[in-house]
């Protein structure tokens, strides 16, 4: 009789533990899925919207400045530089936000999905840190000296961001099907 009661008690405890474990897993999966989706969107935005070389080259093209300087008045040149400065600051700010979002994902959730060894994690952290520092330097330079002040740092930041994208792509590759479910990002309303 005592044995039966013991077995029954153990069974109940086991069921309670199982229930608690299931609930805990559910909560994690929901939060994790959201974080994964955000990380995937940040990565897509970097790869397809902000980092393509053709677009970045266009934003910082010396050719446009030369054209405006040689064939337009001072007023138009001022307008051109103002517009380019605004775009350069917006570009670097958006790159930084996306990179921060990816970093938050890595620091908070990545271990659940991707098995990163210590070396990869360290290398990734180094890339993120150098990229965020480069973004801050670029922001200061663009703000103080305009969009044509630091072509070297722009190139380096793009390179570092490219590395981060490649590493993120590897660990998020299993998520490619998520694209089909993500909300349409831009539509016709452009962020300013």
């Amino acid at each position: 009789m005592i044995e039966l009661v013991l077995f029954f008690a153990l069974g109940v405890i086991f069921l309670i533990l199982l229930y608690a474990l299931t609930r805990r897993t559910d909560v994690r999966a929901e939060g994790g899925a959201e974080a994964l989706l955000e990380a995937r969107q940040a990565l897509d935005s970097l790869q397809n919207g902000l980092l393509p070389a053709t677009l970045v080259e266009r934003i910082f093209a010396q050719e446009d400045l030369d054209f405006v300087s040689s064939s337009c008045s001072r007023e138009v040149r001022v307008l051109f530089l103002r517009e380019r400065k605004r775009m350069a600051l917006s570009w670097v700010a958006q790159v930084r936000v996306r990179v921060l979002r990816l970093w938050q994902f890595y620091s908070g959730h990545s271990r659940r999905y991707a098995r990163l060894d210590l070396r990869t994690e360290f290398s990734l952290a180094l890339h993120f840190a150098s990229l965020l520092i480069a973004c801050r330097i670029l922001q200061a330079l663009f703000y103080l000296r305009g969009p044509y002040a630091a072509p070297g740092i722009v190139a380096r930041a793009i390179g570092a961001a490219g590395n981060v994208c490649v590493m993120s792509e590897r660990s998020l590759s299993f998520l490619s099907h998520v694209n089909a479910f993500r909300p349409e990002s831009a539509g016709n309303s452009a962020e300013t």
Partner: protein, 145 residues
């Protein structure tokens, strides 16, 4: 596969006769219903299907948009000059309308990256300023002559 064939058809029959990216961009935007975001082309829909025609036109629109986005300012200015001439509008009216209404904002394809769209709008603003300045200068030189 059908979409690709339909896009080739659009290129061969229609876009081949429109040499400038700006004109192609405006034309393709005009085939889109603003209420639904769907593209319509009767001839293309008859040859393929309405859905395939819509997708093909959307692809062509995206392509024209990318070409325009990557245009140097010099080229954008000359494309706009040619577009004004072909539209038979007075340059002064055209510049005023584009400045105030910014019609290019509703002409961009859906699912466009907001940053790239803003960059194109910025280039349009610069090109309009250059065109306006050229217009003022040409009037001045006419008066002097």
């Amino acid at each position: 596969m059908d979409v690709q064939k339909a896009a080739e058809d659009v290129h061969r029959r229609t876009l081949a006769t429109i040499p400038r990216a700006l004109d192609r961009f405006i034309y393709l935007a005009s085939t889109r219903d603003y209420n639904t975001g769907m593209y319509f082309h009767d001839g293309l829909a008859a040859r393929f299907s309405a859905e395939v025609a819509c997708e093909a036109l959307a692809d062509c629109h995206q392509e024209a948009y990318r070409q325009l986005l990557l245009c140097p300012v010099r080229e954008l200015v000359s494309q706009m000059e040619a577009y004004i001439q072909s539209s038979h509008t007075r340059p002064r009216d055209f510049i005023a309308a584009w400045r105030e209404l910014e019609p290019y904002r509703v002409a961009i394809p859906v699912r466009t990256d907001p940053f790239s769209a803003e960059f194109l709008f910025s280039n349009f603003r610069i090109a309009l300023a250059i065109l306006e300045e050229r217009l003022v200068n040409s009037r001045r030189s006419l008066r002097v002559a």
